[in-house]
């Protein structure tokens, strides 16, 4: 009996494809953002409000992941920007190969910004690098403020936390200060914005974050993660 060392990532194939995607995004100057949340936290609503606010010439595209249906891509295509659905047929997350396939035929040189809406799930998507510059996690106030402590992986790996549905705060027991505190316990560098996609409150702060992040990526020349 002998023991041979085997030092390699379990998901080395995914990491390899993600590294290729990251390199392509860098070469074409595309800032890629990966949106992750539990089902129903408002990823699609946030992207709708974001696209709605963009001028027609904004060089943005969206990939929307779901287990079934192309409802989200249809909702997002209404704003005149390219939007494609990735249907995972049962898989609980997107992986780098799905992104690579979905980008076929798209001219990345025509884009500055790519939004990826992951499958609604706070666990599995956190393990799969999609070549993004940053992960953005959404938490709605209809959920528990202890979610960052229960699902630390995704909060740890995200650059930005968007707390959504703050218009519901008067009707739910959600403790916003505690939620913020919990998120920062898991990831002290996490930035936080609070929004309501229904009333539009806070969306200007999200837009400013996005502009800053794009400016930083452009200044660095390559949209690398922090």
């Amino acid at each position: 009996m002998s023991r041979v060392p085997l030092e390699r990532k379990v998901l080395s194939e995914n990491e390899h494809i993600a590294a290729g995607l990251r390199e392509r995004f860098a070469r074409h100057g595309v800032l890629c953002l990966n949106f992750i949340s539990a089902p129903g936290a408002g990823k699609t609503a946030l992207l709708e409000r974001t696209l709605e606010g963009f001028p027609a010439g904004r060089r943005v595209a969206v990939l929307a992941g779901d287990i079934q249906t192309d409802n989200d891509a249809r909702r997002l295509a209404r704003f005149g920007f390219p939007a494609r659905q990735i249907t995972t047929a049962g898989a609980c997350h997107l992986d780098a190969r799905m992104i690579e396939r979905a980008l076929e035929g798209w001219d990345l040189e025509a884009l500055d910004l790519l939004f990826i809406e992951n499958v609604g799930n706070l666990v599995c998507p956190s393990s799969y690098d999609l070549g993004e510059a940053a992960k953005i996690v959404l938490l709605s106030v209809a959920e528990g403020e202890d979610k960052p402590l229960k699902y630390p992986s995704i909060f740890f790996k995200s650059e930005l936390l968007i707390v959504n549905k703050i218009d519901l705060l008067p009707y739910v027991p959600f403790d916003l200060a505690r939620a913020r505190e919990n998120a920062l316990r898991v990831q002290p560098a996490l930035e936080i914005v609070e929004v309501s996609c229904t009333t539009g409150q806070g969306l200007d702060a999200w837009q400013r974050w996005l502009d800053r992040r794009q400016a930083r990526a452009a200044a660095l020349g390559i949209p690398l993660p922090l």
Binding site: L6, R8, K9, A91, S127
Partner: protein, 115 residues
């Protein structure tokens, strides 16, 4: 529940290794799973056993090494295991410390029975 896919990736890695060592029989594969990896060790074991049973690799065992979140203090260079999200340095109290472990999802070893 992506542990089935993760378990399958572990088996694919073992099969790739098997092609490099014709005739060898693998008895155990070691995997490091960090607490920030997003992978649940018990679920991974369950899926691994389900996939291995009756396959060409049976009776391969899975040895999971659970890796806690670890931080290092940039001021006094002490490294420590993070318990209950307490990230401050236990030695000097510095609040901002650097994460140096806990994201692992890595193959570590294979036990081989030589023919």
């Amino acid at each position: 529940m992506h542990e089935l896919g993760i378990a399958n990736s572990v088996l694919e890695a073992v099969r790739a290794e098997a092609r490099l060592h014709p005739g060898a029989r693998f008895t155990k594969v070691g995997v490091r799973v960090g607490e920030l990896s997003g992978v649940e060790p018990d679920s991974l074991s369950f899926c691994f056993e389900a996939l291995v049973a009756g396959s060409d690799l049976a009776p391969l065992e899975l040895a999971i090494e659970r890796c806690p979140r670890r931080h290092r203090c940039p001021a006094c260079d002490v490294s420590f295991v993070v318990v209950d999200y307490e990230l401050a340095c236990p030695q000097c109290g510095k609040a901002q410390t650097d994460c140096i472990g806990g994201e692992e999802l890595e193959l570590s070893f294979l036990e081989v029975e030589q023919p």
